[in-house]
Symmetry: D3
Subunit: 275 residues, 6 copies
């Protein structure tokens, strides 16, 4: 059950409007690695947790915080859109500066949302539930989370560089900091779980389930041997079970597959029409 | 530039057909973490690499291998669909065993692909480019890759448990092994990059860009203090820069946001219609 | 800024597992009119509100409640999936009852989420930001909200009829009640706003913007005059501005459109290739 | 069965081309609330109607008209794209006016459709069947229809403000008028049905199905009591069954959910890995 | 402008309900090659036609007919769903025949559409504007149309085999016939246009635009020389300009690409982190 | 199984960067008819082939080549993005030339991919598995392939006209040539298969399955008789079985459909609520 408090977690006040940057900011609201993704990913992971209540609490803490980040960013987008000059476009386009703004805006901000944020990315593509994962395996999911915070912080850093508005920069510097924390916490959790379970997940795969003779070989499927020269290739694998092996010319272990003809009622092409 | 060899990388021969399991297997072909995802993710990452040619080679090696995994799985799906009893459904439905098969099949396998695999997941949702990422930041991307191999291996393990066909199990045991290797290699790469750059990515964010007073606090946004009791909470953060801090009652640092009214030409609701 | 409390808003405890019904319930989590939709719709509407703070508060109250409904439903789905018999499918399929379960489950519940809920509908299609709207016009949005609660309550009523598990029915009876409240509150808000602005939205369209001679005619584009016999057709329009008119044989007011040829550099078909 | 007449329902002739506005207009062709949505929504509702033939006729009348609106808009888009200066972009970009046009166009209009309209919105996102609903409950669907016409008319009004081309304005003034009619007719239908069935839909939910003690309370999930001050909060609910109640501090009626561990064959994280 | 007539173009009356087959039929309503696709594809092509009015008329004739096919199929789906036994599922699942029906139905038919058709395919994935094309080049588009009618007729043939309901078969036999006509007409149009323009489209590409030394070679990128043994490989190309050439070992004409490092403000990985 | 060679199949070196054109080029990477589509379409068709190994080889040859085309285009996009001026946008926007670039870029190229290509089209919409088909019927699929190469070559020709960069033009001239070859080869294959099977596919539909009285009539559903004047309308149908017939006023062969009321547990509107 959730409660809402009206104050923002952090300030979201630009120095002045900028409708083109408002479009850009949508990426970290409704993009693949935006705040909708991390909020929903952590919450679904929390709700699906079976029997590890401390990690569940951590997920609920962080997912709930991210809901507040969507709010901050949505507020910032609305303010960046304040008074956007979108009427009488033809006249406006004669002024190149305004022309560039109108060309560079997300049309949804003008036509659909009435100068507000929407659940979509910087190209206007709607957020998709297909972006997130909650698998029931906490180590796997913590890696998903570390990935999300890594991509997310990278995107925030790029947005920071793209603007010189001090108000926008201030809010982004807060988000960079929170992403630093979230990377740290997921890394710590991963280390903790890896220490208990081993680094290869799921750790509950028994040896008889796995064709272990294929578990430590790097196959050189792209000509050139650069990958073999990576320093760590010359050592023990992170799971401690073997040394990395390198196969310069990967073999095929299977045969040339030939499929049976389809039954007649499928209306597939009959065999031997190519002769 | 790519070349194709007709032999499969590994055998893909079920003992007998099973159209319901063919539907399930689609998850690891065209699902969020299926082979299409890892193939395309690694290849786009490789193509976008700027100036780290050994890692580019590693990405191209692995992405190219994954193309062969789609092939293996597609072959397996086609064989599991051999002779599926899909004609004269009404008659068939009277036999409960056949009824369950017909109810449990992916209808696309019968109607669209003619007993072949398709680029979609186990629910029949088409593969989406929105599943993958290639960011230009190799550490961030390696974490995406480790995530993909972790979720992917978990899904393969579950599929392994769901079948008792020795041929299917054999192929899945090969995929489990390759995912072990790929987890190991991405972990090794991550360690290598973290040693050079630090664990928080992107490492090129300078201190003046980040509001570091917020970089190490866990905010307790979900009541209950379970997360504070995680063992690692009581120590140094993985980036070595601080100790984890815990804020039991998170404060708001922002104010209650009030937005300006929209210009009249937006036809938004005028202010004070709620009084 | 949001806070989370661990208790559910209402109980979510089925009498016994039912993996097929777990699939059905996904519709009201991640479907077009599920709880993700209403939560996100109300929150985005709230965040985008410009100058009607009481309605903003109402939206935030309700959107925040809906987040808790996702949680309740996700918990119920997880419990309906408890111990689902998904291993060794082939054996299982020989028992028709189990066969029907396995055929009727959402494969994602087994392979992807590990017996948990996901952000998708009853067919396994991921939730999309394209389902929702926040337009900046509160009357328009309240109609979107009433629509969502009407479709949503209808779906919950159907799900209620589909089960005989008393625990599931109990939770659904709570959701039916909350949807009753939400329909009532949006209807009251709509009446309030209509009283102030008029029933046709946006009310700020001036008469010179609209070709009012076309504003009150029902055109009989489908042969048969049933629509003209609807009782209300014989009276004043709800906006009070006119009487409904009925045009039995709709006229064309435009001409046959003929488009100019494309410039040569478009490589469209040249004119007169059809002669 | 449908017939087509070559004349447009109304004129669609701009004074001069404007490729950027052509992009904007796509919103009301293939956006969430564009003409494709209303056409398909009304037609599917009509086709699914079971035993209310006058409403079915009304739906078919209106849905068929909307098909003609797609046509009008597609014609307008094609004319706004006439002779768009899309060759030799580099040269063109040196002229800022042309640069802004090229930057502001939908690239699909140049590359994919050859200066014609496409089934997509103003951001280039393809139309989705997920936008529409046909539920079999006419009151619920009429609310969906009123919502669609409200959002749609709002978008047309905004587009009207964005242009000063008299030909475009003329066509949009016609669409504003038709949306006025369609709002009026759906409102009248809603009133008619509400008078017969009551305002809460579906009206066939019996009292024993609903936990009516929760049917009339507004829960204050967002701090601040603005919503309680809305005038209508102090009165009878629109369904006439009760008075609105306000709960300032919403209680939890459920317990803290704890889920059972997953079976071993799911390879979820085992319990107590967080200690 | 469109008109609707209430009669169906052809009968759509099954002998008895069959909810599982109703799910299957959705493929030819809202699938990639269903009637929504051909209707919208032909209509958009017609609307975008610039100066070939006879072909435009042909497209409008056929697109308008296809609208009536959606109607026929939607009617059939509604009747196949008549009285589907979807209440009290748990009880029902004990009867294996009913269990198989409930497992095999599209849940949307029960929960969302109220026993009616929806704009989605047989897996429940919503129809997408991304399925269709209208390019402005009529020869290219006629090939798209022939493709659509070929895939569509194949799917109808498969559905015909899957049922033994004489009423369903009758309707499908009509659709098979119409697809025969539509294949014939698009083939005739293609021949007509190829005779005027040549077979390679767009025919307006001038020789200086094309690297013609690469225009007639089959590159053997998949080992094994089966393709070279296709009879037609040993002859003149269909455009009459050359003979097919076969290159057994395809050469690379480009170099190994090395990309420049990204500017610092992109926060990509710096060069040489792999050493 | 695939192998990768580092050299590009052809050069991909622009004379100078052009971030707006980089956005445009995405259409032929990840658009409906881009290289991802043809690669995946041909490979899935090859993998699904049952018993026509020469055509399978042809499909694998061509699909594998197309993988190399994605690579070429991705490389070109990366180079067109070299040093894109995306920092400190506000300053930049004051220079109209830079303003137009920033407005015209795909924001993903800056924020998400770090100056690299992504799996999406020119509007930023992710590639979808719903674009492609592999049906098991080779004639049908060859028509899909010819369609793809026709639309694809048209798009490349348009892109060629849009640039004056000699390096970009050179690469596009290579792609035009390869598309010429691929159109030729699919046309030859189609002719070959049509000669063996007949032109109407699937050819295995027996006469008793088809209502042949409807197989050769053009119905004039769009007023005006232009289509009847197409020259080929006056002759034998391409399948040689009949002459084209033209029905000026298409009849309805079905009746007005009236559906049964839904069972009460569906909560649909009861019959006769419209009276």
């Amino acid at each position: 059950m959730f409660y809402h408090r009206k104050e923002l977690q952090f300030e979201a006040m630009p120095e002045k409007p900028n409708p083109v940057f408002a479009k850009m900011l949508q990426e970290v609201i409704g993009g693949q690695y935006g705040e909708m993704s991390v909020a929903m990913q952590y919450l679904f992971q929390g709700w699906n947790t079976r029997g590890n209540e401390r990690y569940k609490d951590l997920l609920m803490d962080t997912g709930t915080e991210e809901l507040g980040h969507i709010e901050m960013l949505a507020t910032m987008v609305a303010r960046l859109l304040d008074g956007a000059p979108i009427d009488e476009q033809e006249k406006a386009m004669k002024d190149p500066a305004i022309g560039a703004i109108m060309s560079g805006m997300n049309p949804h901000h003008a036509i659909v949302t009435g100068l507000g944020a929407g659940p979509e990315n910087s190209a206007g593509v709607p957020w998709s539930g297909g972006y997130i994962v909650a698998s029931g395996n906490i180590l796997a999911d913590m890696r998903a989370n570390l990935n999300a915070e890594s991509q997310g912080r990278l995107q925030v850093a790029r947005l920071y560089e793209m603007t010189d508005d001090p108000g926008v920069k201030k809010m982004l510097s807060f988000l960079l900091a929170r992403d630093t924390m979230h990377q740290n916490q997921w890394i710590a959790a991963i280390k903790d779980l890896e220490a208990k379970e081993g680094v290869v997940t799921p750790s509950t795969v028994t040896k008889d389930m796995e064709a272990t003779e294929f578990s430590y070989k790097l196959y050189n499927f792209s000509e050139g041997e650069g990958s073999s020269q990576l320093e760590w290739m010359d050592g023990v694998t992170p799971d401690g079970a073997a040394e990395f092996q390198y196969e310069s010319t990967p073999k095929a272990y299977g045969e040339i597959p030939v499929l049976n003809p389809a039954p007649k009622y499928m209306h597939n092409t009959l065999p031997n029409q190519d002769k």
